[in-house]
């Protein structure tokens, strides 16, 4: 009996000091890019040579592409390879986490390459160094000439794992390549990988080409070209190279764009001197009129769910952005700021609309919510326009022109990209001057 009493007393005494759980709210962190180490991929010694690809260097090259992709996002900070302690062959099997932590890396990418029987097999692993565990691992098999795309796909997978968003590296950008003096520009349709490599020209440059736009569901492009001074809307299949005329439209035709399902194109053209918005079904070729207003309505862009259309109109006097249902009803003005607004483009994520704004002779690229609130101007310059979204709705690509002298000297047009946070503005390298970019969807889904 006494024993029980003692136990009882001791227990109560011990439990006397109890405190409420301390809770601390962490609402801020640092915005520094995540330090990541991309180890060169280990090339298996059993690898065979393939055509003119230097297989021995492939591991290094792929890791460089991945690094470059990450650096361009502004979200990651790839660490210098000189600091790496572990060799790729061992690192791939079991990284010594302490060694990598020592150089302040938080994530590590390792991998292995094997070229055999004319097939390229690439394996990669992503390691969380602080938790000392594998985050993801995948293997791809393809033809060796596809190695560049494999590097982009790996980048996408890692990006997705670390940010929760889809990547945008395995994509292409179509644009108008410009050359020659300003009053006699040769404009060709060109396409390149998102990182600026693999440039190809799709037209010869005999005719003026304008506003190429990707189909959001596949690798089709619609663009405008002048044939005997008549604007024509074309469809181009990039995979096969086939091209067809969608139609001749009267007067001024502007900026055809695909609907989110890729089955229609939406554009504006002038009928009887009045510019309105029309859609055209690509299968039946039936043209449907969407707006009917005496003002000039241009630059239509569908929301990703296809239910709404954003467009430009000067019906209130100055050019502003309006949103309506896809059948043309319920038109609402959404911009009320100072200046002129144009080129609304709905984000593929659906939450924002990108636009160009002109105010006091300066051009701005900005984003706002779809009801017009939360306007954020991301960049200001002498002349810039035509924003186009990356497929994950995180980055905008647009073009910027410099001021020309009286004889057109000093003029240039270049592609630039900027993050929707307004950080990380950078120029995309193109071989010639470039304008009117359009970003494709992911090539591999």
């Amino acid at each position: 009996m006494k024993k029980i009493l003692y136990i009882f007393i001791i227990n109560t005494l011990l439990s006397v000091k109890s405190y409420a759980l301390i809770e601390i709210d962490i609402t801020r962190g640092n915005l520094d890019p995540l330090p990541i180490a991309v180890s060169p991929l280990h090339v298996d010694i059993k690898s065979e040579e393939f055509e003119n690809i230097k297989v021995r260097e492939l591991g290094n090259k792929i890791s460089q592409i991945i690094e470059n992709n990450f650096k361009n996002t502004g979200l990651f900070n790839p660490l210098k390879k000189e600091a790496f302690v572990q060799k790729p062959d061992i690192a791939h099997l079991k990284p010594r986490f302490e060694d990598w932590r020592l150089i302040k890396a938080q994530a590590l990418v390792t991998g292995k390459i094997l070229v055999k029987n004319e097939k390229l097999k690439v394996e990669f692993r992503l390691w969380d160094l602080t938790a000392a565990q594998e985050m993801t691992a995948l293997a791809f098999t393809t033809t060796p000439s596809n190695w560049r795309r494999v590097a982009h796909i790996i980048s996408d997978k890692i990006y997705e794992r670390l940010t929760g968003e889809n990547g945008y590296f395995d994509t292409r950008i179509i644009y108008v390549a410009e050359s020659g003096p300003k009053n006699q520009r040769v404009k060709k349709l060109a396409i390149m990988d998102q990182d600026g490599s693999n440039t190809k020209y799709l037209t010869l440059g005999n005719e003026l080409v304008l506003t190429p736009r990707f189909n959001p569901t596949n690798q089709m492009v619609t663009y405008m070209s002048y044939f005997r001074n008549m604007p024509r809307v074309y469809l181009l299949d990039i995979e096969t190279g086939t091209q067809e005329v969608v139609g001749n439209f009267p007067g001024m035709t502007f900026a055809p764009r695909f609907s989110p399902d890729g089955k229609k194109i939406i554009m504006s053209f002038a009928k009887e001197g009045n510019s309105d918005i029309y859609t055209m079904d690509l299968e039946s070729r039936i043209v449907e009129r969407i707006t009917e207003h005496s003002s000039i309505d241009t630059s239509p862009s569908f929301s990703p769910d296809g239910k709404f259309i954003a467009f430009n109109s000067d019906r209130s006097g100055l050019q502003q952005i309006y949103v309506m249902r896809s059948d043309g009803t319920n038109v609402k003005r959404i911009t009320f700021g100072k200046g002129i607004y144009g080129t609304p483009v709905w984000s593929p994520r659906g939450d924002l609309i990108a636009f160009t704004k002109m105010h006091k002779g300066r051009f701005f690229i900005g984003v706002m919510r779809t009801d017009g609130t939360g306007e954020r101007l991301l960049t200001e310059n002498y002349y810039q326009e035509a924003p186009s979204w990356s497929p994950n709705g995180r980055v905008l690509v647009f073009y910027r022109e410099t001021k020309a002298g009286t004889k057109g000297e000093g003029f240039s047009a270049k592609l630039w990209s900027i993050d929707i946070t307004g950080y990380n503005e950078r120029r995309l390298s193109t071989k010639t001057d470039a304008s009117d970019p359009s970003w494709s969807s992911l090539l591999s889904k």
Binding site: I9, T12, Y19, I26, G29, N30, D128, T163, G164
Partner: protein, 269 residues
Amino acid sequence: MIKSLAYSITFHSIMILLTVLSLPFMLREPIELPPIVSVELIQISDKTNIPYAPKARKIIKENKKKEEERVVSEQAPPAAKAKEKPDRIPLPNEKKEEKKIVKKKQNPEEIKPEIRQSSEFEKKEIIDTNQIAALIDKAKEVEAVQEKESNKITQSSKKNSFATGLTLSEEDALRAQIFGCWSVPLGLPYDQNLLVRIKLQLKKDGTIMKSEILDHERMNRPGQKFYKVLAESALRAVRLCQPLKVPPTGYDKWKDLQLNFNPTEMLKG
């Protein structure tokens, strides 16, 4: 009969003694001076309450000599309390979101600031000097009403310093340290309610014995990719920060610690 009466009396007196001892306000612990203020602490201070911390410390020293009650009445002017209210009531357009966040937290007292405040003042006599320092800080903070972000932080720190034994500067040191370690995944959407709560068990030197994500089953649910990314980044931050800057004393108070990671403010940018 007498025997049982004796038992009864001894037990009852033990129980009374235990109750008296275990009541928190009866514990008069030696005043813990805040630890040396770190560099990170000063950086953060622009937006929180640290600029006033040195003053608070001075006052704590003075208070050792003075009677507690008097100091309280001096240092907590009612005007400060009145001013405090507007910043506790969210603006109409922010209301929605704040509510959501509050719901998820475990401390319901955050929702009813007025009720909690009145009780503070009732308890005047038993408030210890650390709490006075907190009060002084709070009064000063009123000036920074417009900055919502910092308000939120200070609110929670007030809550904690009253509920537990960590002083404001101790808590700020810890918070500032974790701010530095946490790389916020910037790709997360701003309009989703993302809050990751991590419960830690610490050793005396501030290293982590055990870490646990409180809603960790949510991590593997489909469509919760962003939550998973956030949870992983929070865990990384905590591990990177080891050893945590914990006070040298009072291990019992902070051996269990809960960190609520909420990136919403940052993502809205």
